[in-house]
Every structure is written in C-alpha cells, then in structure tokens.
C-alpha cells in the first residue's frame, strides 16, 4: 500500500508567513475568552474573492471562524472561544480556500500560530497587574501601591522562577491571586477615599473596578457605601474569580489531590 507522505504538496498550496498573522486573545473578564486579529495576504498571489477561515484549536478541541475574503478580511462579531480550554495553550490556523471550484481545496494556509499577547504582563505592556521580583526578606509576595501606576505584584526574588510560576503554576496562582484581588479592591475603596471616581476612565483604579464588575457580573457599591457592603462585594468578586479560573481545583489537582 502506498503511504501518503505528509509533506507532499501536490496541489501547490501556498504558505502564509506567520509574521503576517497577528492574533490576540482578549480576556473579557467574566466572559469566555475571545480573540481579535488580522491576516495580511497581500504578498501571496491569491484570488481576491477566496474565502478566509481562522480555526482556533487545541489538542482535541477547535472552533472555526469565517473571516470574509482575501479582499475583505472581516472577523465575525462573535469570536468567543467557548469550546476551548482557557487553561491550555490555544493555537490558530488560517486557511484560504479555492473560490472557483468550491471543493474545499486549500490554496494557502498556516498552522501553529500562537497569540501575540498570550502572556499578558510578560513585559508589563497591557497587564492589569505588572509582576516583578524583589528581596522581600521572608515574605513570599506583597503588593507595591503607587497612586500614579498600577499596583505591582512583587515576588520574593529567592523563589526560583517566581515570575514564570505566577503565570503558570496553579499552586502559586491559587494561593496568591485571591489575596491580591482582595487587597487591591480594599485599597481602592479605603486608601483611595473615593478620589478615583473622579478620575478618567483609564485610571488603574477604574480598570480594576471594571475588572471586578465583569468578573462578578454586578455593579460595584458606591465608595461611600456601608463598609460591610463593600466587604461583602469584595468577597463575592474574589469568589467569582476563583470559580472562573477553578483556582482551588487546579491547585488541588496540581498538588496531587483528586481535583474533582
């Protein structure tokens, strides 16, 4: 029996350069992950009316998105990735199909695209919570508050691979993030004394309040609210965040428990 070799390209399929595909994941904070992106196809000779598809995929899951044509690349309105596991790496592939034969023939493609921003905070670019290391004595972590800049999570520099761990280690995340969220929201309500409300919408305080609002799906209390109401709201935000990212279950699983 003749074996088909994977690398035979008998239909003359063209390769889309990875640098021409820019995909960004968007954490909707309380909603399923979605993506945005662009594909530049000008440097390949393709029929302008050829349909363009983007597939987001993991080991055993995937989703497809029809993105217009070579001439008019348009992402669909809904790019939520509800079928994919946000806890695992997500890859993308782009396909351009034959518009004439309409037989599904792939004219050009590229696979294995990783989102450009998959690790937000890696360089502090768009991160709500920049992360750094510092000598904190015998304290594993603390928050560095500065009214002008976003609070920064400082990890003890003696912890091996601390910055990597906070973005990937379920034990680290499970033990640190709830405390971080609680402390930042508490700071905003009490240490800031409500001054943040008058600031423009891009202030770090507003971004964090918006983050909390979307995680919980409920409006935040006013700054002059009863402290017990604020405390209750913060508790609920922390709980909702834990549920969203399965913090405890992932921690238990990673620590060798049943993990349910």
């Amino acid at each position: 029996m003749i074996k088909i070799q994977r690398r035979i390209n008998h239909t003359g399929r063209k390769r889309i350069n990875k640098k021409n595909v820019d995909i960004n994941l968007i954490d909707q904070l309380g909603a399923p992950l979605r993506f945005t992106g662009t594909v530049q196809l000008a440097e390949i000779r393709l029929p302008v009316e050829a349909p363009v598809l983007i597939e987001a995929y993991q080991l055993s899951s995937f989703q497809r998105f029809h993105c217009g044509t070579v001439r008019e690349f348009n992402l669909p309105e809904d790019t939520t990735l509800q079928e994919l596991d946000p806890g695992n790496p997500i890859y993308f592939r782009v396909k351009v199909l034959d518009p004439v034969q309409k037989n599904g023939l792939i004219l050009a493609s590229v696979s294995g695209i990783r989102p450009s921003n998959e690790e937000p905070g890696e360089d502090g670019r768009d991160s709500l919570l920049p992360v750094g290391t510092k000598d904190l004595g015998n304290v594993p972590w603390r928050l560095d508050f500065n009214n002008e800049a976003r609070p920064k999570l400082l990890l003890n520099f003696r912890i091996p691979g601390a910055v990597d761990r906070i973005s990937s280690d379920p034990v680290f995340q499970g033990l640190v993030f709830p405390g971080v969220i609680r402390e930042i929201l508490t700071w905003i309500y009490w240490a800031e004394d409500g001054g943040w409300e008058e600031e423009n919408g891009d202030s770090w305080q507003n971004l964090w309040i918006e983050f909390a609002r979307r995680v919980l799906g409920e409006e935040p209390p006013e700054t002059k609210s009863d402290p017990s109401d604020v405390r209750k709201w913060i508790d609920e935000v922390v709980g909702a965040f834990g549920r969203k990212y399965n913090l405890c279950e992932r921690l238990v699983t990673h620590a060798g428990g049943t993990g349910e």
Binding site: M1, Q58, L59, S60, K95, G104, I106, R250, E260
Partner: protein, 261 residues
Amino acid sequence: MKIRRLNHSGLREFESYLEELRTPGNQNQPPVPVHLLENPGYSEELERDVEIESQQFQSRFDMGKYLVEKLAGCDQQTISHDVGLWSWLALFYFDQLCPSGQDGRKQPRRSDNYILSRNRNNYHRHAIRTTYLLVRDYDETVHFMFTNPLYQRGELTEQITGRPYFFGCKGIIEAASHLYYDRLRNAPKRGAASKDGPGVVRRFGLVLRQLELTYDLFSLGRDEILNLLPREFDRFKVGTEVARKQSLFKRVSNLLKPSGG
C-alpha cells in the same frame, strides 16, 4: 428521579469510588454510591425539572435518543460544559456503563469516561456526553457508531470521536455512515472495525488526516468526501460498481453452494 448535578463533594466521592474499584486485591468492591444522586450534600437540582427513568438501554444510540428528548428543554450551551450534570448521569447509569464481569468485579475505564474532565481536550472521552451530542446533532446518521451496549466504546466510536475535529464535520459523519453502517442489520458493516485492511474505519481516520492538509473538509459534503477517498474504500461504498460486483459475486457463490443434507 429528577436529573441533578453532582457538586464538588459528589464528584470527589464518585472519583474515590472509581479509585477504590481499581484498587488491586480489593476483594469486596463497594456498591455504586447511588446515594450521591439525591443527597443535597453531594448533588444539587438543575435549573429546570427533568424526570429520568432507570431503564435498560439496548445500545448507546438508544440512550442518546432518550437523553436528547429529556434534555431538549435545557440550555444546550450551558449543559454542554456542565461537569456535574454529565457526571451525575454517568453515575445514574453506572451499572450499564461499567457492569460487573464474570468474577463479579467492576473494572472501570479512565475516570474521564464517567466524570467529565475539567480539561475540555478530554471532553470527548465522556461516554454519555459524546453520545448525547452526536445523536443530538446527527440523529440516525450516527446510529452506526453507537449500536454497542453502553459499556463498549467500540472501534468505530474510538476512531471517529477520538478526533473531535472530525465529529463537528457533517460531511465526514455522513460519509462514515454511508461507508460503515449496514442499515439492514442495523449494525456496522462486517469488517469495518477491523484493526487493519483496506478501507476499514481506522484507515478512514488516517486518510482524512492526510486529506485535511489539502482540503477544508468542513466545506465538503458527504459525496465530495467519498469521491476524495482512494479506491481501497470502494468495497464499503454503497451502490458502487465494486460493491455491486462483490454483492453479485456473493449471491452467485451462495447459489452455487451445495445444499445441506
């Protein structure tokens, strides 16, 4: 009984039960923890009441049809990811999913066959959810995959559901049904599930993986996919010249057989 969903404690208990079943040398296997099904400490009500009966299914397909009817009123997007619900259903039908062997012992498969994995990449392993989704989406077209009893996953199911990319593709499912479903016997065609040989379901999966490099299989219908398949699949095609010749040859051979006695 009303369908419920296992909560964290219920899932943990179910997992512990499965682990206990797997413990070597455990002479006295514990009974199925059916108390979890209705105990509020281990399970909770669904948003809507759905009554379910404990009935014996002839096949996974029958179970799928039954559940599609029962769960029709539920929000499909929500239940699709409801770990507690699918795990509750697996516990409810556990005796059928994992019957005791001749030695009276149960030998469960991987836990994610019964407890829906938290990892969506392993969702397809769940015995009930996968059957439900395919029967819901394709109805009779997937009958050929689920003619086996609940406890048997089967080669056809393994090959087709093992690649979820394929089971979202209508053309592939219809092509597989065309190739491998013997409608007269209501069973897979003879030889379809063989481990090797031309045109068997395992080859179908391998050939599709090659074809998907060149073709967007989702854009293709049943006949277009069948036309792309190499000749080795002709023996399973309905109404092809090869199939007709083979069928004629078989009938003539039968006629020429000396009568018994």
